[in-house]
């Protein structure tokens, strides 16, 4: 058993590819998601066509650029140039202010202001328009005292992530993806490799019990996955200040449960695939894509078509992400997600039983 684990570590440490996945990936992913991939709008190029060019229109323009969200884009003098500038790809939005802006304001008419956004990236376009509208609305409220027109202004507060930082959302997702990748994919590939190379047969002929073979193969990955999850937490805590509001012990416990689940999935995949290629493909399509797409990590589950929503119910990552989000961000205890925990435990049991059954059939 000890020799087995040593051997397994040797395999991992001698394989450059495994090392990169194990130790490079977490770092790169956290930094990528933390720095580069954000849903926030910052320094986006915006052009202005100001047909009035008076004190009021200039005030609006100044407000926009003072917000920090927008940067002055290329100069456009007429509406006919708008499309051209979008095609070049630099500008993301154009603000068109109609003629006689100040005059209309003073006489109590509706001055016209138009926001034209490049919706080839709909999310950004949406955000840009809502930010800009917000700024313009604020300005108009400044001009017209609230007493004149009763406006309902809802005051919103964002709980658990007050500054709406996307890192908060990504960290639980990355931990989940990486645990899936390391635990499920790497174990399934490493077991499939023994089958492909024929060494599995030699192991089965030896006095080792199948249980020992599997445990020996899996143990190093449990350890490495755990180290991985830990290092992601540390990175995100110190670099991006993602809080861990709940109990760290509980978080680690749930992480171990999820690692076990991912491993049992990996073992199951390896029992149904005979070579590394199949194991890899199966893990990719059966694990990675659903983890990324259906777990609610990137796309909200509530917006999915009903069929996909049902499908996401059987996705282990969905439950795990819910759990770590509530521990890390909301600081809640087990009483709020014992159901999710039970579901994960149940899934683990099912996969382990299925693998044992598959393993036996193969031997008979």
């Amino acid at each position: 058993m000890k020799q087995f684990v040593i051997k397994e570590f040797l395999h991992i440490f001698r394989d450059v590819r495994s090392m990169v996945i194990l130790f490079g990936m977490p770092l790169v992913q956290v930094l990528l998601f933390g720095y580069a991939i954000t849903n926030e709008v910052k320094d986006v190029k915006v052009s202005v066509i100001d047909q009035s060019y008076d004190y009021a229109s200039q005030a609006v323009v100044n407000k926009l650029f003072a917000s920090g969200y927008f940067l002055k884009g290329e100069h456009i003098s007429s509406t006919s140039e708008i499309e051209e500038s979008f095609r070049k790809g630099e500008n993301k939005m154009v603000v068109v202010i109609g003629p006689d802006f100040a005059g209309k304001l003073e006489t109590g008419q509706q001055p016209s202001i138009q926001l034209i956004a490049d919706a080839s990236d709909p999310n950004t376009a949406n955000l840009l328009v809502s930010y800009a509208s917000g700024i313009i609305n604020a300005y108009s409220r400044e001009l017209i005292p609230a007493a004149n027109i009763p406006v309902i202004v809802p005051e919103s507060r964002m709980l658990y992530n007050p500054s709406l930082r996307s890192v908060y959302m990504f960290v639980p997702g990355i931990i989940t993806i990486l645990l899936m990748l390391v635990s499920a994919m790497m174990t399934s590939i490493s077991i499939a490799r023994e089958k492909e190379l024929g060494t599995m047969e030699v192991l089965l002929v030896s006095p080792l019990k199948p249980f020992q073979i599997v445990a020996g193969k899996v143990m190093p990955y449990v350890l490495l996955s755990f180290i991985n999850a830990g290092s992601i937490l540390i990175l995100s805590y110190y670099i991006f200040n993602v809080p861990i509001n709940g109990s760290l012990l509980l978080l680690l416990g749930e992480t171990i449960l999820f690692i076990l689940l991912a491993l049992s999935l990996g073992i199951f995949i390896s029992t149904i695939s005979n070579n590394q290629q199949t194991a890899m493909m199966l893990s990719m399509f059966a694990l990675m894509l659903p983890t990324i797409l259906l777990s609610g990590f990137i796309f909200p589950i509530e917006n999915m078509p009903a069929v996909l929503q049902w499908f996401s119910l059987i996705m282990p990552p969905r439950w795990f992400i819910t759990i770590i989000k509530s521990i890390m961000l909301k600081g809640s205890g087990i009483e709020y997600f014992w159901k999710e925990t039970l579901i994960l435990a149940g899934m683990t049991l099912v996969f382990i039983l299925a693998s044992i059954k598959k393993f036996k059939i193969r031997l008979a």
């Binding site: 395999h11 030699v202 089965l204 030896s206």
Partner: protein
């Protein structure tokens, strides 16, 4: 030989996969210290039989004992008594020779000291002491094959099963490989070897020839050649195969 101590006894061994009969009523006995050749064309059922004897497959019916143990119920005990070298290469290519020995010794429960001793002895025999820290993938096929065999007998099993051990190696290496087999047999290890090289059959004490899942002949190479009036084993085999076809 001739003391009639049998280490493998098979009586009416049958293995069916669905309606396909891979092993049809095989009956044979292998004596202790014997080199027993198990011949047959590809697909004749050799590998199925060897897998049953090693405890990798359960037979459909028949009375079979290996090293005195029942293959239905005592596979765990059998596994401690046997060594196995598969058709495919059984060493880990990304580990060194030493690491491979340590691993295989470890899974057979050998002590560190014993493993060290055995490793030194085996490498000395092959004359490759200096290569002990080389990665296996960097070694020539011939050496790797001999190493696989050394690993299969390092825990001093009663029986070693070799499934087409010399596939793809040159004639000289095959000769050297057979010298290793003889040495093992001289130490009392029973060798059960499958092959489709008929010249190798001449090196066995006794051979059984399988055609379409049945044993068509079982005797010493000399007796078989006399019986079929053949110059060599190749002819014996062709005559048998033709008869069956």
């Amino acid at each position: 030989m001739g003391n009639n101590e049998y280490v493998i006894e098979a009586e009416n061994l049958v293995k069916k996969f669905g309606s396909f009969v891979a092993n049809d009523n095989l009956t044979f006995k292998v004596e202790k210290g014997e080199i027993f050749g198990f011949l047959g064309a590809n697909g004749a059922g050799k590998t199925t039989a060897i897998r049953i004897l090693c405890g990798l497959l359960l037979p459909t019916s028949g009375k079979i004992t290996v090293a005195g143990q029942n293959v239905y119920t005592q596979t765990e005990a059998i596994k401690k008594q046997i060594g196995y070298m598969s058709q495919r290469f059984s060493l880990y290519e990304d580990l060194t020779i030493n690491e491979n020995f340590r691993f295989y010794g470890g899974i057979y429960g050998m002590s560190r000291i014993k493993i060290k001793e055995k490793t030194a002895e085996m490498l000395d025999r092959l004359g490759i002491e200096s290569l002990k820290n080389s990665i296996v993938a960097s070694l020539p096929l011939g050496i790797r094959q001999k190493l696989s065999f050394s690993v299969a007998i390092m825990h001093s099993p009663q029986i070693v099963f070799l499934d087409e051990p010399t596939g793809g190696v040159d004639p000289i290496t095959r000769r050297q490989f057979w010298e290793l087999i003889y040495e093992a047999a001289a130490k009392g290890i029973t060798v059960f070897v499958t092959t489709h090289y008929m010249d190798e059959a001449e090196y066995c004490n006794r051979v059984s020839i399988m055609v379409d899942g049945r044993i068509e002949a079982l005797d010493t190479p000399r007796n078989l050649k006399d019986k079929f009036q053949a110059k060599n084993m190749d002819e014996v085999f062709l005559k048998l195969a033709r008869k069956a076809g």
